[in-house]
């Protein structure tokens, strides 16, 4: 166990900062530390660095720099988009639509708004985790001011039909927000040619630093500020800029979106080998999420008769970092709300395993996981009173 290498397959949780990103950030921690709002030269350098990072983020989303606003991460971006639009447009309507499988940054924000007197519709999903545009048409009214549906799901990787959902939303005069935290840097996410009004992204999901993020706000969207104070971010988001972080995220998004298609194909190939290998070697499994409309690096499989946390502990003892939808790791009683929304019985949801791959994973690591996982599963099944059927 001691001399074992680490196989990190939890990139949807977070990623390591890319060495080139670290290199780009260091000058802005020390030499060019100036406050971008000041007027002397080191401050101007800081200001220019932020502008350059903004241009890089804008380029990756195929939009203009003045529609990009830096935040502290995906959670702040989601909070800002949802609360900001809800409150700014309250006189027009008090209805918000989202989906049942959103990240908690969206779900809990919507629940807060319900306490503030807004009404929220949580759209159901099908067995693959897809939101049906027909369901949106059925729920949307002239009181609806905002629809928020994620670009791709963090647990099961399902890619939602956001373009179509955004068009429907505009037909009814509401704004469309998408939490693209899992998608940006992993698949092309252009906002031009779409009717997306707001989009959240997070730096640490694509080898940028933690505590960095951005919100794309289409010009003309009526949105309130949620952080009040100084005039930073063109009077929209107060607080001294996270200079080194912003520079790092700019570099990271540039690196992540370079050769995106090729990297995606390589990651998808490894992921698919893992899926077919697991299905071949281990009986009584279920693939969660959509077979093709999914993020290239995402794999989510349920193993019947066993529980996810014990699976993670054993995998960890073999140096493999993974994630599960079991309640036992979340500190709550319920297993993953995403898996339950797809109609999966709770006992199967407890046995789910999520592996999320990235370019730095290797074929060797895929083989190692395929050698290790069957041992782990059968060891737990041997211990399980439900496991008799499995052997």
């Amino acid at each position: 166990m001691e001399d074992q290498k680490l196989v990190y397959m939890d990139h949807a949780a977070t990623t390591a900062v890319h060495p080139e990103v670290v290199k780009a950030m260091i000058p802005y921690l020390h030499n060019h530390f100036g406050n971008p709002s000041s007027i002397y030269s080191i401050a101007r350098e800081a200001k220019e660095a932020i502008d350059s990072a903004r241009a890089k983020v804008a380029l990756s989303l195929k939009t203009k720099p003045d529609e990009i606003f830096f935040t502290s991460g995906g959670t702040e971006s989601d909070n800002w988009a949802i609360k900001g639009v809800a409150f700014a447009n309250r006189r027009r309507g008090d209805h918000i639509i989202t989906s049942k499988i959103e990240h908690h940054a969206v779900l809990h924000t919507c629940q807060y708004l319900e306490k503030q007197g807004f009404s929220v519709t949580y759209l159901p999903v099908d067995q693959y985790g897809l939101v049906d545009p027909v369901e949106l048409e059925r729920s949307i009214t002239d009181r609806t001011t905002l629809v928020s549906v994620m670009y791709a799901n963090n647990e099961i990787g399902t890619i939602e039909p956001v373009k179509e959902l955004a068009s429907i939303t505009h037909e009814y005069g509401a704004y469309f927000h998408t939490d693209a935290v899992q998608a940006v840097g992993h698949m092309p996410v252009p906002v031009d040619g779409t009717e997306i009004d707001l989009l959240s992204l997070s730096g640490h999901k694509f080898n940028g630093p933690k505590g960095t993020g951005a919100l794309y706000i289409r010009k003309g969207v009526r949105i309130d500020n949620i952080l009040h104070g100084g005039a930073q971010e063109r009077n929209r988001r107060a607080g001294t800029e996270n200079l080194a972080g912003i520079v790092g995220m700019g570099k990271a998004i540039e690196l992540a979106t370079t050769g995106l298609e090729e990297k995606g194909a390589r990651i998808r190939a490894m992921r698919d080998r893992l899926i077919s290998g697991i299905q071949e070697l281990i009986p009584h499994t279920r693939l969660n999420g959509h077979p093709s409309k999914r993020l290239p690096g995402n794999l989510n499989i349920s193993f019947e008769f066993i529980e996810g946390e014990s699976m993670l502990l054993l995998l960890d003892s073999f140096g493999i970092c993974a994630s599960t939808g079991s309640a036992c790791t979340s500190g709550s009683l319920e297993p993953s709300h995403v898996l339950l929304a797809t109609g999966m019985p709770a006992e199967i949801a407890h046995g789910s395993l999520r592996l999320t791959l990235d370019v730095e994973n290797t074929d060797e690591e895929v083989k190692y996981v395929l050698r290790t996982l069957p041992k782990v599963v059968s060891r737990l099944r041997d211990m399980s009173p439900l496991g008799k059927q499995a052997t």
Binding site: S310, C328, A346, E347
Partner: protein
């Protein structure tokens, strides 16, 4: 998040398996909540001569089953009945608050197995102490306690 002893009993669980022709069997928990524990007892002359378990659950559930079976082996039925969830948790050098539920399952599993033995001998079941398994303030995370 787990103590060394919990990890030891999870990685090298004692007494895993089933007993052929057991004298008492207890099964507690619920797959919907993510844990089921099955305890098998061999009883000779009012004494537990062997105990085994099969558990579907998290690391703490498996470690609690392992420790609980260790604690009751060799004990008289009366003494085994007194092995509380707290004793199991303490022997494991503590469990995270949300996982105390797992030690509760172990206590309940032992009680059920003992009462199963008594039922097979046409003896009246011993009475389960209602909610004796945790301090009132502590939320053990157990659905039975939360709804009860």
């Amino acid at each position: 998040m787990y103590s060394k002893t919990v990890m030891d009993h999870f990685m090298n669980p004692r007494n895993v398996g089933e007993i052929e022709n057991p004298d008492g069997v207890g099964e507690v928990g619920n797959p919907v909540c993510g844990d089921i524990m099955k305890i098998f007892l061999k009883i000779d002359d009012n004494r537990i001569t062997d105990a085994k378990f099969k558990t579907f659950g998290c690391g703490a559930a498996i470690a609690s089953s392992s420790m609980a079976t260790e604690l009751i082996k060799g004990k008289s039925l009366e003494d085994a009945w007194e092995v509380t969830n707290k004793a199991v948790a303490e022997a494991l050098e503590g469990l995270p608050p949300i996982k105390m539920h797992c030690s509760v399952l172990a206590e309940e599993g032992i009680h059920q197995a003992i009462n199963d033995y008594r039922a097979r001998r046409n003896l009246a079941p011993w009475e389960e102490k209602a909610h004796a398994h945790h301090d009132e303030k502590e939320d053990c995370g157990c659905t039975t306690c939360n709804t009860g």
